[in-house]
């Protein structure tokens, strides 16, 4: 297996961890841009050297930092994602932060997509140097309703995330909004349609209202892009296109744990295998490991059954959780898994989740971990 880089975005800067293919020893590089808030740091798999990092600082507006030499040197986007100037009568919108970054299709080098808060879908055609609105959901009467109001977003603002590109077809794209549901395009993102049938919403809300849907994380299976997994505010789901109806697959997880969480990871070669990190979503939503006992849950049969994986993880009094961009898989055999915690630890498994070890401690709160 080739050398690996873990790209880590935190509330106080970005770090890179380098390893050889054995994944035994790691070299830590950073902090990059100490004090900046990084929601996502992503390496371009098409050239293996371009890194984009979505940043903002406590007192400053958002930007995108770019490296074209694997993080040795950095430049700033000359035109970061920004909404159009409001016309008369329009609500003036300003990007608070870029939340999600996705490299474009393999056939479109230099193309990237960004999801922002408030919700916006932006595209760059020049490797992240300049950005434009790609799908103007705020100008679309239907989508304006799907976006919802201030009370439909996350505590840190409403998000566009989980921008997915079908590896077989650059015209097929998906995105998710918290709040605002799951949406699919078959024309390269010029138009989208909601894809929420079968998904629950919080009791008391009407599932027919798209704004009330809160997908937390979508993953497309590389080995079968018709299969999409989803960690939702209400549980774990699977969708096998062309079906339009999501199936709840998390009910096999014990009720005392529940199937609420933020991240979800899929196997690079086996569409039946996926991992989640359940979180306490009861009462006031503590957003910590259930009972203070962190555990990864894995399915190897598309969600029919789940197994609890805890070897090496803290056995008690560990009150952290993992955010939606902060868990990922490499392409090794066996697959390596990585997650970063709200308490600033990075954990890894070299054997698909059977055993875990701590790779780093004492980092700031971790927002994203990508293995590339």
């Amino acid at each position: 297996m080739k050398a690996l880089t873990l790209l880590v975005g935190t509330r106080k800067g970005a770090w890179l961890f380098r390893s050889d293919g054995a994944r035994r020893s790691w070299r830590m590089e950073g902090p990059h841009f100490l004090g900046n808030i990084f929601n996502h740091v992503v390496l371009d798999p098409r050239d293996g050297r371009t890194i984009l990092a979505a940043a903002k600082a406590g007192h400053l507006g958002p930007t995108i930092f770019r490296s074209t030499d694997r993080g040795k040197t950095w430049k700033e986007s000359s035109r970061p994602p920004a909404f159009a100037k409001a016309r008369e009568g329009q609500k003036p919108l300003a990007v608070d932060h870029t939340f999600w970054l996705t490299p474009g299709h393999a056939s479109q080098p230099g193309v990237w997509f960004a999801g922002t808060s408030p919700q916006g879908l932006f595209r760059s055609d020049d490797g992240g140097a300049t950005w434009d609105v790609h799908f103007s959901l705020h100008d679309d009467a239907e989508y304006r309703n799907y976006i919802g109001g201030e009370q439909d977003g996350t505590p840190d603002g409403p998000k566009m995330h989980s921008i997915l590109i079908d590896p077989r077809d650059p015209n097929r794209m998906l995105f998710a909004m918290s709040g605002g549901g799951v949406h699919e395009s078959t024309d390269g993102g010029r138009s989208f349609k909601p894809l929420v049938d079968g998904l629950d919403v919080v009791e008391g809300f009407d599932a027919k209202n798209i704004a009330f849907h809160d997908p937390h994380c979508l993953r497309l299976c590389p080995s079968n892009p018709d299969r999409i997994y989803q960690q939702n505010h209400t549980g774990v789901y699977r969708l096998d296109r062309p079906s339009r109806t999501w199936v709840r697959i998390g009910k096999g997880i014990p009720k005392s744990i529940g199937d609420i969480g933020f991240p979800m990871v899929v196997h690079p070669r086996d569409a039946d295998t996926a991992w989640i990190m359940p979180m306490d979503g009861t009462t006031v939503w503590p957003r910590v490991s259930p009972g203070g006992k962190p555990a990864v849950y894995r399915t190897r049969n598309g969600g029919k059954t789940w197994e609890r994986l805890t070897a090496g993880l803290p056995e008690k009094q560990a009150w952290w959780t993992v955010k939606r961009q902060a868990m990922s898989a490499d392409a090794g055999d066996p697959v390596g898994l990585y997650f970063g915690t709200t308490s600033g630890e990075i954990w890894m498994s070299r054997d698909e989740g059977r055993k875990w070890s701590c790779l780093a401690r004492h980092l700031p709160e971790i927002y994203s971990v990508e293995a590339a």
Binding site: G58, T63, S78, A82, K85, P92
Partner: protein, 85 residues
Amino acid sequence: MNVLIPSPLLPYTGKTRVEASGATLGALLADLDRQYPGIRFRMIDEQERIRRHIRIFVGGDQVFELQKPLEADDEVIIVQALTGG
């Protein structure tokens, strides 16, 4: 004219006091952005609003409008607001 730069923007300018010119605050910020690309968007959003945690003073008075006329001998002070701790 002389412009005081707050610490979060020092990665752009490398120094706390810089020279820039403009007949209005907006023109002055455009001149700053020409000298230090990217600095303006960190202070001013796409709707031409001064960002929430940035405060700008001209001659000791806080300014809220980019159309504010400037004199050649004005001192412009940009500070980070105390919000956010």
